[in-house]
Each structure stands twice: as structure tokens, then as C-alpha cells.
Amino acid sequence: MGNQIQTKDEFNTDAYNKLANEFRHVITDIICRSGSGHVGGALSLVEIIITLYYRIMNIDPKNPDMPERDRFVLSKGHAGPVAYTALAYLGYFPKTWLPTLNADGTRLPSHMDQIQTPGVDMSTGSLGQGISCACGLALAAKMNNEKHSVFCIIGDGESNEGQVWEAGLFASHNKLDNLVCICDYNKLQIDGTTNEVLSLEPLTDKWIAFGWEVFEMDGHDWDDIYDKINLAKKVKGKPSMIIAHTIKAKGCKIIEGTAGSHNIKVPDKEAHEKYMNALDGEKVTLPY
């Protein structure tokens, strides 16, 4: 029990699968403990977040403000619990903080908060704003002639926001090739499928038309994620968008692939157990 993987270790599918399963148990548990929360969009990002934090980003948990670190903005700030799990497992703060999610006085609010939580580069939660902020981080790096990358994850529902597309224009106009965005395309938003609510298609063509280099990947396939992010990092002269095909609430059978998983209500212990028992993988002992 417990995660033995350290960042930049040689990749091992079994160990990473085990870690992803542990993440899913933690995320579901801490959301259930708090009584409600955005579980669907956190579970859809588990493999992407683990890949970024464990294999891609140049970061140092002992020195969260290291100037040369890669920056990360979770523009879909409601997926906070998946990022908090990574931050806790890497040692930015004790794992005992995790079950304080959304509790009175917590430092782990449902939406990402740069003041409250160590390792968070940007406060997000009001959709559309994080990607603009990521553009600012990337532009500052260019001005300072710094070589780090800025990673940003946006939601597909979030892509309804006009500000996302303002940022899209800005990033390509300013040739922000140090900016790599990932769109968590689980094709579901609060009120239904993205096609029912406000169709994004053709999404890839839209970003190409906005002057971005665009990739698509299976957002649950370790190799595909790793390869596409590395390809995106190498792009010169324009920003990159990776459309990540994902499954909302991936791994939690009773809500997987449903719009209702966006925000679940967990009124009692029974409901808590129901969600935990619905998780696919082997049961884990929670680390707190």
C-alpha cells in the first residue's frame, strides 16, 4: 500500500495503473466525505494529471516556487481534487489534508486557490479565466527569456465560454509556443452532452483555425498522453492544444459516462459506500 513512485522514475504500466486506482479511490472518498462534489471531471483527468506531475513537469515539491519550474493551471478549477491528490502524494502538503476537502477552514477548497494551497500556480473556478491567466504566465516567461513550459487544462463545457476563444486568439497572435493546453473532452457538461447543450464540433478544426497546433489523444492511455504532451512541448512558433478524449467519471461504474457525475450529492454513509464500491479497481487502504 502507498505510492512508491517518484517523479521521473522509469515508467511502469502496472505501478502507474496502481497509482491511478489509488487516486480514484482518494478522489471519490474525499468528495463523498465532504457530502458533494465534482467527481466526474476529476476522475476523467487522473491519467493526464499523473502523467503531467510524475513524468512531464519539472517541479520540486520541496521548493514549490522554484523559478524554473513548469507552471500548471487547472482552468477547469472544479476538478481540484485530482490535482490536490497529486500534490499531496508528491509531498507539497501532508496526505492528511486530503480528507479536509471543503471542510470548514480547509486549505483545499473545491476550486483551485493559489493562496490556500501549496503548489497551485493560479486560482481558478470561474470558467474561462484560467486559460487567459496561463497566457499571461507564458507571456511573462517569454519576456523574461525563461525556458519553462506552461500547462493548462480546460474543460469541454468550459469551452462554451467566450474568454477561452479570446485567449485562443491571444496565444497564437503572441506565438506562445511555451503554452500547452489540454482540453478534457469527456463530451458531457452539467445539463447534458456537449452536443445537446452547445456543440463544440468540429473542435479540432476550430483550434487549428485559431492558429494552434492541435493533437488528439486517448486521455486514459499512458503512452498516448506522454507522447502527445512531449510532441506538443516541441512545437515552435505557436501554442498547442491537445484534445483529450476522456470518459467522465472514469472508473466509477454507477456514474461513468453520465452528465450527472458532474456534481454528485452524497447525503449519508450509505451513499458514500455505494460510490466507493462502484470503483473498478482493487480496494485500497486510504492514506489518511
Binding site: D113, Q129, L139, A140, F170
Partner: protein, 315 residues
């Protein structure tokens, strides 16, 4: 040309250039209104590499500003006050104030100074809504000397700030020796019958009003508030205790801005009769300043008349 013979926006641009020369981190950020802000070509000519034009995308401009500020930059993000405040209120709230990112939001052409752009562009609530935002500092300098001092202060202090920037030339109130202190109102004149409180664009009219009132035998104490938040309560309370009558005047809706701040402070500390002058909860329109002053009752003559009435009522 003396400084006070220049347009406020010209002094804004010149001061930005000075600040940029002194500190590499100061940036000029615009949303396709750089000519209106006065920074095009003045800032572009001297500091092209630190001039960022976001195009007509004010929401994105605020987010970009927040990202830049997070990296230690000091972005002065300007647009018309209607767009720099109400259009991007949530962006300023979350990306700047909630996150405590050091963004300087500059709302140009405040209130009726939008003139020919009319009702769509006249913003009468920016002081009120920005004041209601935690972490936000809200300034409204009244002349070129104060503008320079306020901008220097903004560049030095790491805190999200909203500043109104009048574009046109305005009457001289201060001189080169002026020092800005956001925690202190400026007592322009002492008096005992009535207190006249103003900010920003309207302050240039208060010395003349005071002169006319004195001639009519009314002793008016004149207070100018360059900072609406933080708000210097002490000076106001002391003055109200002395005069027992207060008139406020601002280039804003009378709801929630300077007049609102004055009423809040006085009703909690020193209940006093207050007359608020400004826009009486109406939208703007294409019109001259004289027309709007007359229609809404907050020009020089209205200020004088309100002070006379209040001096009597306060007794």
C-alpha cells in the same frame, strides 16, 4: 507646457514610461483603446517590447494581466471604465482580487466624461462595484499631479488596484509637491458650516464652490478623497462633528460610490445629514457636460446651492 496644461492621458502615458524606465517589470497592457488611453504612440515609441495589446478582449486582458502579475510583472491594464469594471467584473474579482494578483486596472473616461459615446459607454457604478470587492484598492485622482503620485504608489505597492483615469485636461488642484496617501483624505480648505466631499473629476470644481460660498458667508470645509477604498473615516467623522452637515459630489451614480461610503461611515459613527450629488440612478446619454450637470443637478451651481441648504439644515 506646464504639466497641468496637458491632458490627463498624456501624463498617464508619460508616467508609465518613467515607471518602465525605473522598473523592468512595469507593463502597459491595452485592449485596442491605446490611443484613447494616451499610450499609443507615447509608450509604444519608448517601450514597444513591454506594450501588450490584447485586442478587443477585455476579459482576456484581465486574465493575461493576472498571469503576468503572478510572475512578478506590474501590468497596467487599461480600457474605458465601462469595460474595465462592469464588463470584466468577475475576471477582476477572481483572477485579480480573490487571487490577490498585483494587477492595476485602469478605467478611462469615467462617468460623463465619455461625452459623445453616450449611454452605452458612460459607467456610473465603477467606484461602487470596485469598492464592494475584497482586496481591491480604488483610487480616483483629480489632477495631473495627483495622477502621477497615485501611479507611482500603484507601481510600488503589490496589491490589486482599480484607478479611474480622466482623459481630458482638468483644472489644477495640486502641484509638484503633492504626496499621495490612500489612507488620508486631503483637506483642501477648513470650514465650520458644511462639509463638501468629492473625488476624481468633480474635485476641480470644489475650490471655486468654496470661494463663492465664503463670499456668501458660508464657511465650507472641503475634503477630497483620492482613495475611495481604503476610505479615511477619521477625517470625515471629525469634519462632520464640526459642521453637522455634509454634501458629497461625484461623477458617478449616487448609489454606492463616494456618497455611499460617506453615508456608511457617518451613520455608524456620527449620524449626520448628507446630501449626495451625482447621477441620481439614471443611465447616461450623448450630451455635453453642461447639459448633464444641469439635468442631474451636480454642476458648480448645484454644489453651491446644496451646500447653502445643508449649512442651514445642519444647524
Amino acid at each position: 507646457m506646464s504639466l497641468h496644461d496637458k491632458e490627463m492621458r498624456a501624463v498617464y502615458a508619460e508616467t508609465l514610461n518613467e515607471l518602465m524606465e525605473e522598473n523592468n517589470n512595469v507593463l502597459c497592457v491595452e485592449a485596442d483603446l491605446s490611443k484613447a488611453s494616451g499610450t499609443n504612440p507615447t509608450v509604444i515609441d519608448k517601450n514597444k517590447e513591454r506594450f501588450v495589446n490584447c485586442g478587443v478582449s477585455e476579459a482576456n486582458m484581465i486574465g493575461v494581466g493576472a498571469g503576468l502579475a503572478r510572475e512578478g510583472k506590474i501590468p497596467f491594464c487599461a480600457s474605458f471604465s465601462c469595460f474595465a469594471s462592469r464588463r470584466v467584473y468577475d475576471q477582476v474579482t477572481i483572477s485579480c482580487a480573490y487571487a490577490n494578483n498585483n494587477v492595476k486596472v485602469v478605467g478611462t473616461a469615467p462617468g460623463i466624461t465619455q461625452g459623445p459615446n453616450g449611454g452605452t459607454h458612460m459607467c456610473f457604478q465603477d467606484l461602487a462595484i470596485m469598492r464592494a470587492m475584497p482586496n481591491m484598492h480604488v483610487y480616483s485622482p483629480c489632477d495631473v499631479y495627483e495622477l502621477k503620485a497615485v501611479m507611482r504608489y500603484m507601481a510600488k505597492e503589490k496589491q490589486p488596484t482599480y484607478m479611474q483615469l480622466i482623459r481630458s485636461q482638468v483644472g489644477k488642484v495640486f502641484d509638484e509637491t503633492y504626496v499621495f496617501n490612500p489612507n488620508k483624505a486631503v483637506v483642501l480648505k477648513e470650514g465650520s458650516d458644511v462639509t463638501l466631499v468629492s473625488t476624481g473629476y468633480m474635485t476641480q470644481f470644489t475650490p471655486k464652490a468654496a470661494e463663492r460660498l465664503e463670499a456668501a458667508g458660508i464657511s465650507v470645509e472641503v475634503l477630497h478623497y483620492p482613495s475611495v477604498k481604503p476610505f479615511d473615516e477619521k477625517t470625515l467623522i471629525a469634519s462632520a462633528k464640526k459642521t453637522r452637515a455634509v454634501v458629497t459630489v461625484e461623477n458617478q451614480n449616487i448609489i454606492g460610490g463616494l456618497g455611499g461610503a460617506v453615508c456608511e461611515v457617518l451613520s455608524e459613527n456620527c449620524p449626520t445629514l448628507v446630501k449626495r450629488l451625482g447621477i441620481p440612478d439614471r443611465f447616461g446619454e450623448v450630451a455635453t457636460e453642461e447639459y448633464l450637470f444641469k439635468k442631474h443637478g451636480f454642476g458648480l451651481e448645484h454644489i453651491i446651492s446644496a451646500c447653502m441648504k445643508m449649512a442651514k439644515r445642519g444647524k
